[in-house]
């Protein structure tokens, strides 16, 4: 009998609206094995081709199926240091699972869920000890502690080089900590990975260091043999429409940082306040927008419970149609289950305020899809005369981000594109500045966790070669 794709347990959609606990509960050993049974063990696995870092998918699934968990972990870690994280946040539907042969006729193997299962097993059992080679005496600085920096640091430290990581915020993890909410990626998972790597490999993490201000890149180069920049793309964009500075308009970064990094949802037990009004509009429909919307809804429900009032509404306002939504399918699905309202083919043109400067509404225009643009997606065009007003008191801009320029201060020769991203070779991560490598969002602009990890890995390989004297600059 053909085994169907195994479902994963989820927290009930009505309960989870008022808490920040993880939504997807993961596979049990039994369901994981059953799901692993479905894999055809293709000779030419399309799934691996679809994975940006080429995880040895059939191999890890085979080991899992045979019940050899340490071996599954080992196969996984050849290409991916952080499976518990990737299993939770990768857009599998457009990567491995999107290519899986079973998906042609029915449902693809739930590779992401299996990856998560293997990752969680490793977190709990630590079957794959991180060992460092004997010390080489070389020193490497890694700037930024997101997935790109973490991956690079681990791969460089394993070769016996001394690694110091610099982070401007008060703790490591990058977007994994300040952006992606607890209910999607528990902080304990991220901290678990970081602490383990730091402990096993002796990686030192210096928080509260803004490179470009506290120390400049050139100063780092005087002290370290190689520098890797994984500073991400954290600079928010705001729409250029009237009303953007009104009270109640904020970037998704601000909102998510207040909520996640500063634990604003636990205010006043934590000191950083966070507001989600009664009618929230989140502009954009990427992962960032989904996270902002779902955090807003949770805060509304928490407040409503505390005050005995009604929760309110959260809207996603997006100028294209459902087909073009860039967020992970699973998150869009979860957001809908949680009652987020989608206003598609809609674009704000003005935010309106009251006499005290608070947001009270938003003027929008309806859109239709025209000819495909450079990205291949059909371009949204405003429909003349279709303006209308929405009543809102909070507007969260989730329109994408750019690299933060601070790291480029006093870093002569570090070239940047007109989009503000660092110029770096795709295969090696080398920038235009000697002994400086870069990877992740700082090079590509806002992308994905797995692509940042891949870039960190490739740069680490080149740094290791360079430090061994196997490759000249």
């Amino acid at each position: 009998m053909k085994i169907p794709r195994q479902p994963m347990l989820h927290q009930d959609e009505h309960v989870r609206r008022a808490n920040f606990d993880e939504v997807a509960l993961g596979y049990t050993e039994e369901t994981a094995k059953k799901e692993a049974e479905r894999c055809l063990q293709c000779k030419k696995p399309l799934c691996s081709e679809g994975c940006p870092v080429g995880v040895l998918i059939p191999q890890f699934i085979k080991a899992l199926r045979e019940g050899d968990m340490p071996k599954a972990v080992e196969a996984m870690k050849v290409k991916n240091n952080l499976p518990a994280i990737c299993g939770r946040v990768c857009p599998q539907e457009s990567q491995c699972e999107g290519k899986c042969i079973l998906g042609k006729k029915g449902e693809p193997v739930a590779i992401g869920r299996l990856e998560r299962f293997v990752g969680d097993y490793e977190l709990a059992h630590r079957t794959c000890p991180l060992n460092a080679a004997p010390p080489t005496g070389k020193k490497v600085a890694v700037v930024g502690t997101g997935p790109a920096g973490l991956t690079c640091a681990v791969d460089v430290a394993r070769e016996g080089h001394t690694v110091t990581m610099f982070e401007s915020l008060h703790g490591p993890g990058g977007v994994l900590i300040y952006g992606i909410p607890e209910f999607r990626l528990p902080k304990s998972v991220v901290h678990g990975e970081i602490d383990y790597a730091a402990k096993c490999l002796g990686i030192e993490i210096r928080s509260d260091h803004v490179i470009g201000r506290t120390i400049t890149l050139d100063e780092l180069l005087a002290e370290y043999d190689a520098v890797f920049l994984g500073t991400g793309a954290g600079l928010p964009s705001f729409m250029r429409i009237p009303g953007i500075n009104l009270n109640g308009v904020m970037s998704a970064n601000e909102f998510l940082t207040r909520v996640n990094l500063m634990k604003g949802y636990l205010f006043p037990n934590y000191d950083t306040p966070v507001k989600a009004g009664r009618k929230v509009a989140v502009i954009g429909a990427g992962n960032v927008a989904m996270d902002a919307a779902r955090c807003s809804a949770r805060i509304q429900h928490l407040h409503a419970q505390q005050n005995g009032t009604q929760p309110g509404e959260v809207h996603i306002v997006y100028r294209r149609s459902k087909e073009e939504i860039p967020a992970r399918a699973e998150e869009v699905h979860h957001a809908m289950e949680e009652g987020i309202i989608f206003d598609l083919l809609t674009n704000p043109i003005e935010i309106m305020g009251d006499s005290t400067g608070k947001v009270v509404g938003m003027r929008c225009i309806r859109m239709e899809l025209g000819e495909p643009d450079a990205s291949g997606r059909r371009k949204p065009v405003p429909i003349a005369g279709s303006e209308f007003e929405m009543e809102v008191d909070t507007v969260i801009m989730a329109l994408g981000t750019n690299p933060n320029p601070i790291v480029f201060v006093d870093a002569e020769g570090l070239e940047r594109t007109k989009y503000g991203t660092a110029v770096a070779d795709n295969d090696t991560g080398r920038t235009k500045k000697q002994r400086v490598w870069a990877g992740g969002d700082v090079v590509t602009g806002a992308a994905t966790v797995i692509s940042a990890m891949g870039a960190g890995k490739r740069a680490a390989a080149d740094i290791n070669k360079f430090l061994k004297g196997e490759a000249a600059w």
Partner: protein, 288 residues
């Protein structure tokens, strides 16, 4: 962790602290700021670098207790530590020989104006300083300001010390006195004070630099929470400032944005005071 090496009580609500933070002291310049977070539950709050000592690896901060975080910080003692101390952030003040300049400090703004006045004096300027506060008890550093100024005017709202006037009064007189030919004005203090200083200097066409204190989180340009409206669009105070041309600032917008979290700030103070009371009670009962 960053240790508090020294604490001084400048007034009932104004405290000075010397903090051990060599990585910040190494780079610090007048006009820049740091971000401090007291403990794991704390919020990140910006404070101006009032002074620094590279050799000792220390930064001096001066703050006024206005809400939960500054109250809590003010209750700490020498020997205690804060968990986050990051900087230096923002652009340093640009110091040149301009001729005659006016340095205005309102309330806790006296602290950050002091190193600027000192640097301007050292830079060969004739420095006229005007400091003010609501009442005598809130004034501090009169002597220090005097030492770096050619002329010092002191005002209090209630007349308890110096002249009973707002700081804009002596400012106007100085500007009207053609013999002094003021080249530039710096003003640091509450937003309302900076707004009125800018309005006072505008008709005279005297360039006026203000140091804006918006609400901040990261202080590195990542959240956009600190943005201000200027004549030519929005800018981020943490990376583009904190100093701006006072004549270009949309003060209405700034003041309104500063009050956005008023309710929450009040709740935080209530929660904090309550917590402290309960703690005191527990300690008292435990002692019985």
């Amino acid at each position: 962790m960053y240790k508090i090496l020294e604490k001084q009580v400048l007034s009932d609500v104004t405290k000075l602290m010397v903090i051990e933070a060599p990585h910040v002291a190494q780079k610090a310049k007048a006009g820049q700021f740091i971000i401090v977070r007291i403990d794991e539950n704390g919020e990140r709050i910006p404070l101006t670098i009032a002074d620094f000592d590279r050799k000792a690896g220390t930064i001096t901060i001066i703050f006024q207790e206005v809400g939960k975080s500054t109250l809590q910080l003010g209750a700490m003692k020498a020997g205690d530590s804060v968990s986050t101390f990051v900087g230096p952030l923002g652009h340093p003040t640009e110091i040149e020989n301009f001729g005659t300049v006016v340095c205005m400090g309102g309330g806790v703004g006296i602290a950050p104006i002091y190193p600027i006045a000192r640097a301007l004096k050292e830079g060969g300027n004739k420095v006229i300083s005007i400091i003010g506060a609501r009442t005598k008890d809130l004034l501090f550093w009169e002597d220090k300001m005097k030492a770096v100024s050619d002329e010092l005017h002191i005002c209090t709202d209630d007349g308890s010390h110096g002249r009973k006037a707002l700081v804009t009064e002596p400012l106007k007189e100085v500007l009207e006195d053609k013999s002094r030919a003021v080249a530039k004005v710096w003003a640091i203090g509450p937003a309302v004070m900076m707004k009125f200083v800018s309005q006072t200097t505008k008709p005279f066409g005297v360039p006026t630099i203000v140091s804006l204190n918006t609400i901040m989180i990261d202080g590195t340009g990542m959240c956009g929470g600190c943005r201000v409206l200027l004549e030519d669009g929005a800018q981020f105070v943490c990376v583009d400032g904190p100093e701006f041309d006072g004549h270009k600032v949309d003060w209405g917008n700034l003041l309104s944005r500063l009050s956005f979290y008023k309710e929450e700030e009040k709740a935080a103070v209530d929660h904090y005071k309550n917590h402290i009371c309960n703690l005191d009670k527990a300690v008292a009962e435990g002692g019985k």
